[in-house]
């Protein structure tokens, strides 16, 4: 992974920069001792790490603004950080940068059930947003699998999704407004407790900008009444093609399950060995979950069963109890842990048109053979967001490079069939150099112009998202 050379001017005035930060922050909000900053040298993309110049952990929007004013004046790069759970290296530091973590800003500011929103500080974890409203029958819909740990700030940065996007959308569809601090230290409010922008939809481009346009410190989030109940059904099929056709028929049948999860044979075998969920021995497996009252669930599942029957499932199991529902989800939820047992893995995140599912799975199997690395597939089939897991051995020289090369080939395949590099994890540093596979230089230039407007000095998270050659002249200016 190539990162830009650190700025020698900034490195040379480290003492002064730290002193200025110390002037605007409480003592416990500034960390410079390398034994402590080490905790911030990487995120969940653990293959890459780097000690930052300093870490700041402000508690208020005003402190964030003060830090940014200092960094702006001194020309110091800033790496915004939520909870550090990015799989794409979105908060990977550089030696000449200050990491700005918002994890201490985790309060609920306002809960409003009549208008169905909650306003939180952006360091609050995703699951604890739902936690704040569930006793009153509400929830926050986006549910990335890291939801126990990940912060709303990072969710907004990456426009995070989850398993239930087919029905509820991703972060951008559930975000009403933000308080954001610009790199120049100006506090702005974009959107608020109302629907839609009256002018340009700046909120729409801030969400998913990977911390490159500003530091989000507060958010108004849409909350929804909890459905009366939910029930999963598990079905096994003789081939990936048949399972894919069944997904398509369920959607064409007018049903909108909250989740349609797909696992292929390598994934079923690995999770079965690990979690012993009692999954059938088959080529492909679907978990379909529907919501509503018991009668509504019965009706939807009756329709789904009739559709599935046309595809000759080798197994079909409806959860008759809470316990059986848990068992159906057990394997799926253990998939990543199971892969961890088999070795190190890279988790990809490309999206494909659902119609290309069986072709793409066949090509992935061929590429897997070609590279001599195992690939297991588990993904959100309803929306085509794939998560191929490439198993490798980090202790074997060259194996990580080989796995990354295979990953890049799989992502190129996703783009070739009409899809994209990343459905919910973000580009970060991980997929930065593949952006030119999906976008022309003109497409990328249009995006860079947005950053030029929000952060003319290119100080916020600058070496991410776009290939370095595309941003070089701007970062040097």
């Amino acid at each position: 992974m190539e990162m830009p050379l650190p700025d020698p001017v900034v490195l040379a005035k480290r003492g002064r920069i730290v002193a200025r930060l110390a002037e605007v922050l409480p003592a416990d909000a500034l960390i410079t001792d390398p034994t402590e900053t080490r905790a911030y040298d990487c995120d969940a993309l653990t293959a890459y790490h780097c000690l930052p110049m300093a870490v700041v952990l402000p508690r208020t929007t005003d402190e964030v603004a003060a830090v940014l004013r200092v960094c702006h004046a001194e020309g110091v790069k800033v790496i915004p950080r939520g909870a550090g759970t990015s799989l794409a290296g979105g908060s990977l530091p550089t030696p000449d940068a200050v990491v700005l973590g918002v994890a201490r800003m985790n309060a609920v500011i306002e809960t409003d059930y009549a208008n169905r929103f909650i306003r939180v500080q952006a360091g609050r974890t995703n699951l604890s947003v739902t936690g704040a409203v569930e006793a009153d029958g509400f929830f926050y819909a986006p549910d990335p699998s890291s939801q126990l740990a990940c912060a709303i700030a990072g969710n907004i940065g990456m426009n995070s999704g989850g398993a239930h996007c087919l029905k509820y959308g991703v972060t951008t569809n559930n975000l009403l407004g933000v308080t954001m601090v610009t790199m120049a230290g100006e506090v702005v409010q974009v959107g608020g407790p109302y629907m839609d922008a009256g002018s340009l939809d700046l909120l729409g481009v801030i969400c998913g900008s990977e911390g490159q346009l500003g530091v989000v410190t507060e958010a108004w989030l849409r909350i929804l009444p909890k459905p009366e109940g939910a029930r999963p059904v598990l079905m096994g099929f003789g081939s990936n093609e048949v399972a894919g056709a069944c997904v398509s028929d369920i959607i064409k049948g007018g049903l909108l399950p909250v989740a349609i999860e797909f696992m292929d044979r390598p994934c079923i075998e690995a999770t079965e060995a690990f979690a012993k969920a009692g999954y059938p021995d088959c080529e492909a497996l679907l978990i379909v979950e529907v919501e509503g009252s018991p009668a509504e669930i019965d009706e939807q599942l009756a329709r789904i069963k009739a559709i599935a029957a046309r595809h000759n499932p080798v197994a079909y199991r409806e959860a008759a109890s809470e316990d059986e529902a848990k068992r159906i989800w057990l394997g799926r939820k253990s998939a990543f842990g199971a892969m961890g047992q088999m070795g190190d893995y890279i988790c990809l995140d490309g999206t494909i048109p659902v119609s290309e599912l069986s072709f793409v799975l066949r090509r992935i199997a061929e590429l897997s053979d070609q590279y001599g690395l195992r690939v297991a597939n588990v993904f959100h089939a309803g929306d085509g967001n794939m998560h191929p897991l490439i198993i490798f051995n980090a202790n074997k020289p060259g194996d990580l490079d080989l796995a990354e090369a295979l990953g890049a080939d799989i992502l190129r395949l996703c783009v070739e069939v009409g899809g994209c590099l990343t459905g919910e994890h973000g580009v970060g540093v991980e997929k930065r150099d593949l952006m030119s596979v999906q976008f022309t230089d003109a497409d990328m230039e249009a995006q860079l112009r947005v950053k030029d407007v929000f952060d003319p000095g290119w100080l916020l998270n600058p070496a991410k998202v776009f290939p370095l050659y595309v941003t070089a002249s701007r970062r040097a200016a």
Binding site: R116, V188, G204, I251, N385, T422, A442, A446, R449
Partner: protein, 363 residues
């Protein structure tokens, strides 16, 4: 001017040095544009790709909305956001185009449950002010690759570029639906009733209050499920008054603001926090009001020339004048810091100031 292809359009823009007034079907544009040569997108028409099994549609911007809706209906699907037809309100004729719907981020009653036009929009192609074709998003429903210019273009009213192609995620059309009415509620009570319904787990897809007509709630889905939810909602709403089952045709009246058709005066549209709505309407001194989106959207008729923003003072949300003229701009002015960002974006995407100059933000 009416280019017949994206390439022709791009060349036209590349060599241009005088402003254009962009037009889809000319059915929903608001505010003061011009002077400039009219640039129509009607020559860019046709469905590029429709995959019912993937719930996705890619369509050229100049395609009539009616043609898009007919193609989807044939497969039992629809655009989730129920785009309004504002011809009757604005006194226009012509044929709404799908690109115009996107440029206006036009969303109807279902917005309260299924999101706005911008939430269903998953891809866009456009020609910027230098004549360069730019692509963003794509045809898949989960995509976080690079910045989301798709959202930025939705609702940009043609001020950032000429949209040439758009892609949507779709929803299955429901098997059936039901509409409930409560009569005689005052505005504040009506908003409270709508909040109670929208805060229930019964998946309400429309919540509107039209003084004189009643307060309306809609559920949609499979037959047995709709019947069940009608029963449950009737219980939830019992404390507000008698609940009756009525014809669903009322949603077209809500969507297209039919009660205001043929009424004289200026029309304003407010986006507000629903529980503020009734108080703001009282402050507005309007001749008539209509509430959609559970009270989050308010339409007002007032005497010509009123500066509604001055009359309302500060509130969470914004006010747009959709019909009428006056000294104040039609689109809501932004706070200085945001106005600077918006002006910066316009200067980057349209450096020659070609597209609908002065329509949004400062001229």
């Amino acid at each position: 001017m009416r280019p017949g292809s994206e390439a022709e359009l791009a060349e036209l823009v590349r060599v241009a040095n005088a402003p254009f007034v962009l037009r889809g079907g000319g059915t929903r544009g608001i505010g003061v544009v011009g002077p400039g040569a009219v640039l129509e997108t009607g020559g860019l028409a046709g469905i590029t790709l429709y995959e019912p099994g993937a719930l996705t549609l890619v369509v050229q911007a100049g395609t009539p909305l009616a043609q898009v809706e007919a193609a989807l209906m044939a497969e039992g699907q629809r655009l989730p956001f129920e785009p309004p037809d504002l011809r009757g309100l604005l006194g226009r004729t012509g044929e709404s185009t799908i690109g115009g719907v996107v440029a206006a981020n036009a969303s109807g009653p279902r917005r309260v449950q299924a999101g706005a036009c911008r939430d269903s929009l998953i891809g866009v192609r456009f020609v910027d002010g230098t004549g360069t074709v730019i692509r963003n998003g794509g045809r898949v429903m989960k995509n976080v690759t690079g910045y989301d210019l798709v959202k930025l273009l939705a609702g940009s009213q043609g001020t950032l570029g000429v949209i040439t192609e758009v892609a949507f995620k779709l929803l299955p059309a429901p098997e059936t639906g039901a509409t409930l009415r409560i009569e005689g509620l005052d505005d504040a009570r009506a908003v409270a009733a709508m909040a109670a319904a929208l805060g229930s787990p019964f998946d309400v897809t429309g919540a509107a209050h039209m003084p004189g007509w009643g307060t309306f709630l809609r559920v949609e889905g499979f037959e047995t499920s709709v019947r069940y939810r009608v029963g449950e909602l009737t219980k939830v709403l019992a404390r507000f008054g008698a609940v009756e089952d009525v014809d669903g045709a009322v949603w077209q009246a809500v969507r297209d603001v039919v009660p205001f058709h043929g009424r004289a005066g200026d029309v304003w549209r407010l986006a507000v926090t629903p529980s503020d709505a009734a108080g703001l309407v009282a402050r507005a001194g309007a001749e008539a009001a209509l509430y959609d989106w559970g009270g989050g959207l308010v339409w007002l008729v007032v005497e010509p020339g009123v500066d509604m923003r001055a009359r309302l003072g500060a509130f969470a949300g914004h006010a747009t004048r959709v019909r009428g003229a006056g000294a104040v701009p039609a689109f809501p002015p932004e706070p200085a810091a945001l106005a600077a960002l918006s002006a910066g974006l316009r200067a980057k995407f349209d450096p020659k100031g070609l597209f609908n100059p002065g329509l949004m933000g400062a001229a």
